[in-house]
Symmetry: C2
Subunit: 376 residues, 2 copies
Amino acid sequence: MAQKFGFELKATDGRARMGVISTPRGEIRTPAFMPVGTAATVKAMMPESVRATGADILLGNTYHLMLRPGAERIARLGGLHKFMNWDRPILTDSGGFQVMSLSGLRKLTEEGVRFSSHVDGSKHMLSPERSMEIQKLLGSDIVMCFDECPALPATEAEVAKSMRLSMRWAQRSRDAFGDRPGHALFGIMQGGVTPDLRAESAEKLREIGFDGYAVGGLAVGEGQEAMFGVLDYAPGYLPEDRPRYLMGVGKPDDIVGAVERGIDMMDCVLPSRSGRTGQAWTPRGQVNIKNARHQDDPRPLDESCGCPACRNYSRAYLHHVFKSQEIIASMLLTWHNLHYYQDLMLGLRDAIAAGQLSGFVAQFHATRAQGDIEPL
Amino acid sequence: MAQKFGFELKATDGRARMGVISTPRGEIRTPAFMPVGTAATVKAMMPESVRATGADILLGNTYHLMLRPGAERIARLGGLHKFMNWDRPILTDSGGFQVMSLSGLRKLTEEGVRFSSHVDGSKHMLSPERSMEIQKLLGSDIVMCFDECPALPATEAEVAKSMRLSMRWAQRSRDAFGDRPGHALFGIMQGGVTPDLRAESAEKLREIGFDGYAVGGLAVGEGQEAMFGVLDYAPGYLPEDRPRYLMGVGKPDDIVGAVERGIDMMDCVLPSRSGRTGQAWTPRGQVNIKNARHQDDPRPLDESCGCPACRNYSRAYLHHVFKSQEIIASMLLTWHNLHYYQDLMLGLRDAIAAGQLSGFVAQFHATRAQGDIEPL
């Protein structure tokens, strides 16, 4: 096991990259999809099942964990890995995005953000220094800078002002993080959809120096076209020898497009959240298991899938347990979706390594275009 | 694997019995606790996890399954075992109890019960013949006679009248069941708390002849003392060479008391339902994981337990995920409770085999009397 954090780029195909991130807690094969374990659990999954889908790393949410059960409490209990029974790498976000989207009354200053908890209304402060402290208390392997993500729509001037605040916070995050061998700190590029602002942000982050770089401020409602527009140039502003992380993405076709554009890491609640609302993802697109056409269907969700939901259960069963509001519906559909996402990442990595990404992507879109299997 | 249904009594200790039920789908070690899989799932559990706790057999509910997804549908899909991915024995109840406790408008006649579904208000009929048909469509290994369980309080005359109706229905159930090698039909003794009525019911059932016999009409709110009062004599009215099943029982001390009184099989929603409401059962009694005293406790629920919840998680974690309404709370607490129940059955079987049941029971009560571990 590596003693230090490192990244090895093993292959490229066009702008797409295949590699391995090394950490003392294990390797992360990139491009990597990180399931989200917001409140110290990937909802409806046992951690050993998450691992069985092929996940090398989880994401934990600083905002949720600081409020409940509390970062100091998790530290006393031995850290987040032990607390939630996941001994592989964990990336934690900084809390910056959730504090703006979820918390109650909040006040943004140069210092940071004061806010009230959405759980119990209690008062809290997040700043670069406190975010670094919390992520250290949690024992995070990959720590994210504390940044501000402006609400859309925003003028270019607003985006510029916010980006420059985030860059000052990036410096304070770097200073507060200190030197922690085996743990990584990632900077977050901002700048909206303006190339000059993205370039300015990237330049500042490179000056400060980070172990990896995130493309922030996307997947916040701007649409796939605008997102891909930024990804067509922004990753190129970042160092080649460090991992590039696109936060909060996405649907399967978002992921494929991001990987084509040089992204190494992604996270999203979509596969787990979809599972709980009866939406399944397959190579042929999205399946709504609530639909009555499944109620007599003995076929699996996806013939080609090796997950327990597809190996052991019919669409009729999944429909029945979902309609009956049985917990196993969430368990099986979440498992399937996470399995599908990890299978997709595996396919992308293999295709990049073989120099066959364009063929893989063409097949991906052609299969989706078929739509779900015909009703019986 | 046995081709026929059979029961071998292997040891007795006082009135308590240890044995094995053989079926084409596998053996059932008795005394056996049967987890309840009402709607084709043991709530919050994967079937392989239920099996891992030590369960040899599940119970399915005719009433729920006939209404949703429908017995004919399950038959078309290959039967309940395949539908819910459980290849070991399944016992199904007759629907008689639930139709009286859960359904809407209902009319009881000599023929059977007409009622409206609690799911969608649709009209249905249950009779001995229809109950046998449904249980056959489901593919049940152990089929229960269709009976009537009178609501309490009831006069002795009401109980007698109801019992005699149930005995006529038992004959009709036997006739409708026919000859199905490898499948068993159990009669259900009624008669409330009146020894003469219990004796009359048992005599009638023995005349008809069944593969096993249930003690019905208990665990319906009469209290443990009254239940044990009946169990002090009623099992003795039944043939020694057939399994005796106490329906809907119970708490751990109910189970121990029933086994002491000659019961071989039991079922109850309690361990799974308790798991979903934050109640855990341990050798030291009941633990309410919601209680704030657990929030910093790094100790497992039960040091002596080998279930995943106890091996891999602290009370602090279980408290956190329960308070956060995370699905994993139901998954882990249900798993723990089912594991504890099966461990208890294993202990009872071993104690009976060794002729040491009284010592085991004394230890069981002494450990419970200690109460839960001291707060930190």
